[in-house]
């Protein structure tokens, strides 16, 4: 049997990429009764979707209001636990951080959400693991955090509960086009026919779009996080700052990341796994400064992940200009928290023709029409030579 030409059962919408964005889109479509198939080359959420801080507080995004509306309902809507908890506190260990962290308060206010500045005494009262050796902080009455692994799997299982399909260990090899449309997706397990295609393949999105003649500029990078043993739960787990993002999980672990990233070639991330580095120690030092009463707590894991960024670091959710029935989606390294909303937007673009609840013009691919071809070099985004 020749897998190249084997006709498999396709779907009205085929989604390439089993990360949070593709899975959420698949789930929203399945909720609308659309037949959907998600193709994933490995295991769902194995990329950045399962390796992130779990934050849900993206006040700069046009999807913010929908993000805030949906998260409190996600457990119920999915039928699986996401571990979502609302609200966020961010602590500043110097005046510079205090100034910079104010932007979230301003962006929140502009969109009708309340925040408060905290003095060191208030910080100590609200955050048991902190001391009053801080400049201050902010209590944002919006946002929150969830468990990425559990959420990813929740989307996948919810799709299946609604009659959709998620096919893991299935690598996309190319597309079949006819009359300016993609009619099927070629994989190592045969061809899957489709009426619509969504490409949400993280750092691999650029290459897949190039197969269809479109330029979707992006570059992959590596970032890393650390996890401690569990501690008694703080009243609010969504505490970060001091140059770190992260949270106390509902189990009590401190999971935090931050610091320098490494730009990479996409060919290399296909051949090598993400590897953490001695940056583990620097993140640990920052966390001990952020939460001094946890300085004795043991780090039990670190992890690294690959993420992609577009030239301006903002998402692309748009139709490809070269074919009629393809939507491309990258959240540009900030996709987990926004996923309930990004999937909804993609669903509406397919079923309604456009996103009705948010203005996605800032996600348009056309903003890069005048982009310099050597934008990577001009921005100093350089992979490091080995050896």
């Amino acid at each position: 049997m020749n897998a190249e030409t084997t006709k498999q059962t396709g779907a009205s919408v085929v989604i390439v990429g089993g990360g949070v964005t593709g899975l959420s889109a698949g789930w929203w479509l399945a909720r609308q009764g659309v037949s959907v198939l998600v193709l994933e080359k490995g295991i769902v959420g194995w990329g950045a979707s399962g390796r992130n801080g779990g934050g849900c507080s993206h006040h700069h995004s046009p999807l913010f209001l929908e993000e805030q509306r949906l998260w409190p309902m996600m457990d119920e809507l999915l039928g699986y636990p996401t571990e979502f908890r609302p609200n966020r506190i961010r602590l500043a260990c110097d005046d510079n951080q205090m100034g910079l962290y104010r932007r979230a308060l301003e962006n929140g206010e502009y969109q009708g959400f309340k925040s408060e500045a905290l003095d060191p005494k208030q910080v100590r009262e609200l955050v048991p693991l902190a001391t009053d050796d801080v400049t201050g902080g902010y209590f944002y009455h919006f946002g929150g955090h969830a468990n990425p692994h559990r959420t990813v799997q929740g989307y996948a299982w919810a799709i299946e509960d609604l009659g959709g399909r998620v096919l893991q260990h299935t690598a996309v090899q190319g597309f079949v086009t006819s009359g300016g449309r993609v009619t099927a997706v070629r994989t190592d397990r045969g061809e899957f026919g489709c009426d619509h295609l969504v490409i949400a393949a993280g750092p691999h999105t650029e290459k897949l779009a190039a197969e269809l003649g479109a330029t979707v500029p992006m570059m992959p990078a590596r970032a890393e996080m650390i996890v401690t043993e569990p501690l008694p739960l703080m009243p609010l787990g969504g505490v970060d700052g001091n140059g770190l993002y992260g949270r106390q999980t509902l189990r009590g672990n401190l999971a935090y990341g931050g610091g320098p990233h490494e730009w990479l070639n996409v060919e290399d991330i296909e051949a090598h796994r993400p590897q953490s580095t001695p940056l583990t120690g620097d993140i640990a030092a920052r966390l001990a400064r952020l939460l001094p009463k946890a300085a004795h707590v043991k780090v039990i894991r670190s992890w690294a992940g690959f993420i992609e960024n577009t030239p301006d670091g903002r998402p692309i959710i748009d139709r490809l200009p070269t074919v009629d029935n393809v939507i491309v989606a990258t959240l540009s390294s900030v996709g987990f928290g926004l996923s309930p909303a990004s999937g909804h937007a993609i669903q509406e673009m397919i079923t309604e023709g456009r996103c009705t609840f948010a203005d996605l013009s800032s996600f348009a691919l056309s903003r890069f029409d005048r982009l310099e071809p050597d934008w990577r070099e001009l921005q100093g985004w350089r992979p490091m030579p080995v050896g």
Binding site: I43, A288, H296, R301
Partner: protein
């Protein structure tokens, strides 16, 4: 021509602080590591020999690095006394010291790093070391890993009691530390490694109440008196630990035979059902590993000179493979050490590759037999993962942890395949969803059991179940002790929580319609959200 710009928030402008440099770093001062140190000394190679023993008492209490089961005597609290015990336990340490080897005891290597295309930042081969006060980085031209062995855990009701411990841990406390608080033990397993541990325990005055083997025949002839076809039905005891063990006969499917129970008074249960190569440093650094029946499970892939797939990184001794002939004869690890050091010295000396004996028993079948009879068939659902309180059923049905209080009726058939999709189940995926192996002992006590359970649950060969990845730090270490201190100034400069890209965080109502690099607004300081 102007200089090319560089992303100041990326690692490209950050320098890792290296505190020390050495020609050869040897990790582990057991027979293999010491032989490597002496071989290096003879060849004029400057070597640093690092060993984590004596391990702090508090760390032992966490079952790190071995499953000590709280059976340390009070003497293990005295760091100086334990340092003397470690030195006295092997005269070869003193010989190596006198030969000029730079020996660091009580020092753990918590991470090994080498540059790779996805981590070009790492400047050569780097080891992250920690003692009881601080961490620092050592750059090494070559590394010989002689990290030894550890024990496979095995759940049964009561296995969380103090006194249930690993065979390697018991022998370590008895011989290296002279600090084993055990009087009368029941031993599980009959491998050569376990029987050598039994001999060490007997020399230390421990009475062996029984040796229990699940299989119908023993693995090592020295276990001739073992109670075959039996497993532990339960351990009984109290806050001070095990008081007795009840064993039961099992049938060919591992089911417990009613009315066959026998009770043994004892204060200790020695788990000797699997002696596992300690590969965590090597796997975590990206050296390729493979399941090898003849070498005791997952081991690094080696060339004829003991080199792993990472250039300049060698594995010798038990972490390179465990087999009976090697466990009995220290000449085998010595030969591995000689081969590795000869390769490092780039000598033309010819060495035959050190190869394992043909496997005496089917390792996968042996482990599956124990796990089916002891864990799956256990009455009362013992926790397989003690840290996170995860049972065999939780793992096989991929249930969320209990603390979520999530118990809706599931619509799904409860088998691994339908829950997780095609292909052998991945322990890392099961870990993320059930938390099995995610705890403070870093999966030491459960990872082999979990893999075996997944093989049984998915009806896949054990060798096909992927290895759960290891990650640095490979020992649990406090935040304060992992901190690189003030040296890390270049890493800290311009630190941002994410990419430090101003355009990424411009609120959407202010984003321009086109983006070009030359059209970017001048940027002040930025904090990613």
């Amino acid at each position: 021509m102007s200089e090319m710009p560089i992303d100041e928030a990326s690692v490209a402008v950050k320098e890792l602080p290296i505190a020390e440099r050495t020609q050869l770093l040897i990790i582990g001062a057991g027979p293999a590591g010491l032989a490597a140190a002496m071989a290096a000394s003879r060849r004029g190679i400057a070597a640093m020999l690092v060993d984590e023993n004596p391990v702090p008492f508090e760390t032992m209490g966490e079952d790190v690095p071995l499953h000590f089961g709280q059976r340390m005597t009070g003497a293990a609290r005295n760091r100086n006394a334990m340092m003397e015990e470690v030195l006295a336990a092997d005269p070869a340490l003193t010989e190596a010291f006198e030969a000029g080897v730079d020996i660091r005891l009580g020092t753990v290597v918590w991470g090994l790093y080498a540059p790779m295309p996805t981590a070009g930042w790492i400047p050569g081969t780097i080891a992250a070391l920690a003692d009881h006060e601080r961490s620092w980085m050592v750059s090494a031209e070559n590394v010989v890993v002689a990290a030894g062995r550890r024990d496979m855990g095995l759940a049964f009701p009561g296995w969380e009691l103090p006194g249930v411990m690993g065979a390697v841990a018991a022998a370590r406390l008895a011989t290296t530390y002279d600090a084993l608080a055990a009087r009368r033990a029941v031993v599980l397993g009959t491998s050569t490694e376990t029987m050598l541990a039994v001999a060490a325990l007997r020399r230390a005055g421990v009475e062996i109440a029984a040796i229990v083997e699940r299989a119908d025949t023993v693995l090592d002839p020295a276990a001739v008196d073992a109670l075959t076809g039996h497993v532990v039905a339960r351990a009984e005891g109290d806050a001070e630990g095990v008081r007795a063990v009840v064993v039961t006969a099992v049938d060919a499917d591992g089911r417990h035979v009613a009315g066959s129970e026998r009770r043994f008074d004892c204060d200790t249960v020695v788990l000797g059902v699997g002696t596992v190569p300690a590969i965590e440093l090597l796997e975590a650094m990206g050296a390729r590993v493979a399941f090898d029946d003849a070498r005791g499970g997952h081991v690094p892939v080696l060339d004829a000179r003991q080199q792993t797939t990472r250039p300049g990184i060698y594995a010798i001794g038990d972490c390179a493979g465990i087999w009976p002939g090697k466990s009995r004869d220290a000449a085998v690890p010595r030969a591995e050490a000689e081969a590795a050091v000869a390769a490092i010295a780039a000598s033309g000396d010819s060495h035959d590759a050190v190869l394992p004996d043909a496997p005496a028993a089917d390792l996968a079948a042996y482990r599956c037999g124990w796990v089916r009879a002891s864990v799956v068939e256990a009455a009362g659902e013992p926790y397989v993962c003690q840290c996170e309180e995860v049972t065999a059923r939780d793992i096989l049905e991929v249930r969320p942890p209990r603390y979520l209080g999530w118990n809706p009726p599931t619509q799904k058939p409860a088998d691994l395949r339908s829950l997780l999709g095609d292909g052998p189940p991945h322990p890392d995926q099961v870990k993320r969803l059930t938390r099995a192996g995610m705890g403070a002992c870093q999966g030491r006590r459960c990872r082999e059991q979990v893999a075996t359970l997944l093989a049984l649950g998915a009806a896949e060969p054990l060798a096909q179940v992927p290895l759960a990845t290891f990650r640095a730090p490979v020992r649990p270490l406090p935040l304060s002790r992992l901190s690189p201190g003030t040296d890390a100034v270049t890493v800290g400069r311009g630190w941002d929580s994410w990419f430090g890209m101003a355009p990424q965080w411009v609120p959407f109502w202010k984003v321009p319609s086109h983006y070009t690099v030359s059209g970017r607004e001048p940027e002040g300081p930025v904090a990613s959200e």
